[in-house]
Symmetry: C2
Subunit: 161 residues, 2 copies
Amino acid sequence: MALDPRRTEAYFALMEAGGLLQLLMEEQCQRDGDISYLQFFLLARLAQAPGGRMRMTELADTVVHSRSGLSYQAGKLEKAELLRREPSPGDERSVTAVITEEGRRRLEQVLPGHVSVVERGMFDVLDDEQAAALAGTLGVVRDRLRTLVPSSAERRRRARD
Amino acid sequence: MALDPRRTEAYFALMEAGGLLQLLMEEQCQRDGDISYLQFFLLARLAQAPGGRMRMTELADTVVHSRSGLSYQAGKLEKAELLRREPSPGDERSVTAVITEEGRRRLEQVLPGHVSVVERGMFDVLDDEQAAALAGTLGVVRDRLRTLVPSSAERRRRARD
DNA sequence: TATTGTTATACTCTATAACTATA
DNA sequence: TATAGTTATAGAGTATAACAATA
């Protein structure tokens, strides 16, 4: 690979760490809350949004990158009564997803174990300075990567043309 | 979440950066080499092993974490003639996967675009010092996470009991 | 008995395109 | 015409358990 060895190392470490962490989280979410990691993320994202509500497209862009994929997941979460969907005020085409009380309870049920995996998997082996540097650097990389991945609306537009 | 905000930030940044990069790579591998990202990884892993060969279980542990999953992928790669399977010398139960010449060619075909995504997605926005620190810190985290995820053999043993 | 790898099965998830309704 | 969301369909990938062969 015509890439500086140090950079190759950083890239592979990022991908492997992300993958391993995802594996651990998948297990933890299933065990503690009977939901997938993706569903945990959707609930967590909704919970931190004002009023616990977000438009479907907006939500799709933060996690799934395909509208149909989100409809599928929202259907499952709605059946489990962890979220509900209602018409968006102001735009009759649009649908707003809202986390339910039970959704918040489920989230609370999963969070302690989740935090503990993060602590044991990442921060037990880093000091505060390293953790801060990691947050900063990864934040920059994430922001950069966001600009390179098209939104769900853009993807659809491109596919049509 | 009862986790230091800075740590939460680092954790989410890691997961999102990993996810976005995976999306970009999936596209790139498909476009440049008509293979999935996972298949690219399997070929890359084999290519860097001595003799381009590795036992199936060993290979499973580096990527897939399930033996049946690897058998499935190996079947697809073998049909595409990118790898072949042969009996392992010394243990008649065991199978060794070997990357073919065509497998190496395919890898070479994918690598330039791959490197370019890594460069544009990660290192255009980091200086050398940041890149080095990132490699170091993520390496530590990855090693830690490896100890927390059981091998495919361990998982099987546990499931049986 | 334990381990290696494969396979049959069943399931989850995903993307694409076609569809409805509203802007 | 363009956009929001859903859905039908079809395909890829996964895990589990049962299997055969070897240690």
